[in-house]
Amino acid sequence: MSDLPFILFSLVAAWAAIMVVTRAVAVHALLYLVVVPLSLAGVFFTLGAPFAAMLEVIIYAGAVMVLFVFVVMMLNLGRSDRDRERHWMAPAVWIGPALLSGLLLIALCITLRTIPPTAASDAMVPIGPQSVGLLLYGPYVLSVELASFLLLAGLVSAFHIGRNIRGTGTGEP
């Protein structure tokens, strides 16, 4: 009975992911993309990581996806885009990628099947925000500092690139 949520969330996540990569309309794909982190948050919860689940919902489904929505709105895609997208997704296009992805999936699944359960008891031990925080601000405080630099690098890059969009924008030949 306790397995049901995991199975459910897993199925939803997988389904949504497949929908994302197969939708012709960007907005539809995006909406499915929101479903992926939401259902993953559920999976995290069942894996005993409530803190990660909350962050997934707040930051991923909340912030990052909103960014995507915002951009898709700005791009102002229309019917012609959808038709072109359909045209691009001819069945032949999928053969190669599907082969590669399938091989990858099979190889990894075969590998993962060899993992035996760990010696630690199989029961889920919830790991709450407290232990994560202790680790984060204990030995891993360096990573917090570095993460701030990572975000700064992203910020400065995005800021500089974004600055050039304003005005004529298409000034080059």
Binding site: L108, I115, P139, V141, F149, A153, V156
Partner: protein, 486 residues
């Protein structure tokens, strides 16, 4: 347990401080001169701090995420100097406003530095991505250059893909061993060798993508062509040095001569890179793309050094990195000195038009081709010695054969420079700072080739206790230790 940041080398806080200072300066008033001064001062200060006594690694194995050992100091020195070279090249070239260019350069350098010293997945990953995101901003810096966006989006998509693969590999590695130690997982784990090998394969994809080894190299020529010259130099030199340092750390302690898939994959990729890089450069008419091909080939040579354990392997790689950094930075500086002329046809007659510049360029190319008396010859010899002493016959044959291909395209550029001056040539010019940089690099390339003993002793001395091996032999952080030791 010591304080978590106690073992940190002072060069990292110095870089952080420099970044903060530069941001303050930008907030106050923009000025390219002040930005480059701050950037260079930060880089040189960080370089000087490498000799500080703090660098002696405390040796506390628990909670160590970062190992500021001799290998780190050596690599960090190379990274900082090559970043400084990029900054000098960027002077009056960065675009407007130029300040953020130097800010991103410092951020990227910080990321590279972190990568060179980290022995923990989290830290390594953060360093890698800081470098990667800064590079994105740098590649797309020029708004006038129409190809900049294309280069940036290519890099974004492919780097994102490779990052995801790398992360998945790290996750598998963690799932298998329960340790976040950034090292090749042991094959003798309880679950058999399949999972560690799969994890290693995925991690290697991520590393080789950034190192641009064949067949993960396809992005490099495009991105380097689309990027400004200082950024191309940053990608080809600084980022590669850091990645190679991390790769060496990843495999430190692992016996690469055993006939399993990881060693096999490395060897195959080394051969592919040597031939692929050189063949790719063969038909190029664009100097930037030529240098991209050349840098791919050099990755192959470096892998041979890595695959040759023994007293010379890592030392020869360290030496080679220095030689490669000097010559490649020099070649880009020479391009910058010629108004960023990247078309080889445009270099015709350069020996008559700008003899000193052409001579410097020739020195760099000769060094890259591995012709004496430039440093590249000795560096390659050193790697060959390492390979011979480890009996990597196939790889050595590949190195020699592909080097011969390399001779053709390097000397082809020299030949073009010796041709008569074409009628429709346009005047080229660089900055004074850049001239100083070229001169310094040319002198280093020649002098170090004539008297390599000093650098050899330096590399041997730094790597004497083989700290890389020591880092990997640390006990992994036990899963419960950190959590409950507070």
């Amino acid at each position: 347990m010591t304080a978590p940041l106690s073992g940190l080398p002072p060069s990292l806080p110095i870089l952080g401080g420099g970044i903060a200072l530069l941001m303050l300066s930008i907030a106050w008033r923009r000025s390219e001169a002040r930005a480059i001064v701050i950037a260079l001062a930060t880089l040189f200060l960080a370089f000087a701090s490498l000799w500080s006594p703090v660098l002696s690694w405390p040796g506390d194995p628990v909670g160590i995420l970062f190992v500021p050992d001799g290998w780190f100091a050596y690599i960090a020195g190379l990274i900082l100097l090559s970043s400084a070279a990029c900054a000098i090249m960027a002077w009056r070239e960065a675009g407007t406003p130029a300040d953020e260019f130097y800010l991103l350069l410092l951020l990227g350098t910080l990321g590279a530095l972190v990568m060179a010293g980290s022995v923990d997945m989290v830290i390594f990953f953060l360093g890698l991505e800081t470098l990667s995101l800064s590079l994105l901003g740098l590649i797309a810096y020029h708004r006038i250059q129409p190809t900049a966006d294309e280069a940036a989006i290519k890099y974004l998509i492919l780097a994102g893909l490779s990052s995801a693969i790398l992360l998945f590999g790290l996750a598998l590695s963690y799932a298998e061993s329960g340790s976040l130690r950034f090292a090749a997982p042991s094959l003798a784990g309880p679950d058999g060798p399949a999972l560690p090998l799969a994890a290693t394969a995925l991690v290697l994809t991520g590393l080789f993508f950034k190192l641009s080894a064949v067949p993960f190299h396809t992005w490099l020529p495009d991105v380097m062509e689309g990027a400004p010259i200082p950024v191309a130099s940053f990608i080809a030199v600084t980022s590669k040095i850091a990645l190679f340092a991390a790769l060496a750390r990843y495999f430190a302690g692992a016996d690469l001569l055993r006939p399993d898939a990881a060693g096999m994959e490395l060897a195959i990729i080394a051969v592919l890179s040597m031939f692929g890089g050189n063949l790719l450069a063969l038909g190029q008419t664009n100097l930037k793309r030529l240098l991209a091909g050349s840098s791919i080939a050099h990755v192959g040579y470096l892998l041979l050094a890595l695959l040759s354990p023994g007293p010379f392997g890592l030392a020869s790689a360290a030496f080679y990195l220095a030689a490669y950094a000097a010559a490649t930075s020099g070649a880009f500086a020479a391009m910058r000195g010629a108004s960023g002329l990247s078309d080889i046809a445009g270099w015709r007659g350069m020996f008559r038009r700008r003899p000193a510049l052409a001579l410097a360029m020739a020195v760099m190319l000769i060094s890259l081709a591995g012709i004496p008396p430039a440093i590249g010859f000795f560096a390659k010899t050193y790697i060959v010695i390492a390979g011979v002493s480890a009996r990597r016959v196939v790889l050595l044959v590949a190195l020699v054969a592909s080097s011969i291909i390399g001779l053709y395209y390097y000397l082809n550029v020299v030949r073009a420079m010796m041709e008569p001056v074409p009628e429709d040539h346009r005047a080229v010019r660089g900055t004074q700072a850049n001239t100083v940089l070229i001169t310094a690099l040319a002198i280093v390339t020649l002098l170090a080739g004539l008297f390599p003993e000093m650098l050899v002793r330096q590399t041997r001395a730094l790597l004497q206790p083989l700290p890389v091996l020591r880092a990997a032999s640390l006990p992994p952080i036990a899963p419960h230790d950190i959590l409950y030791s507070e």
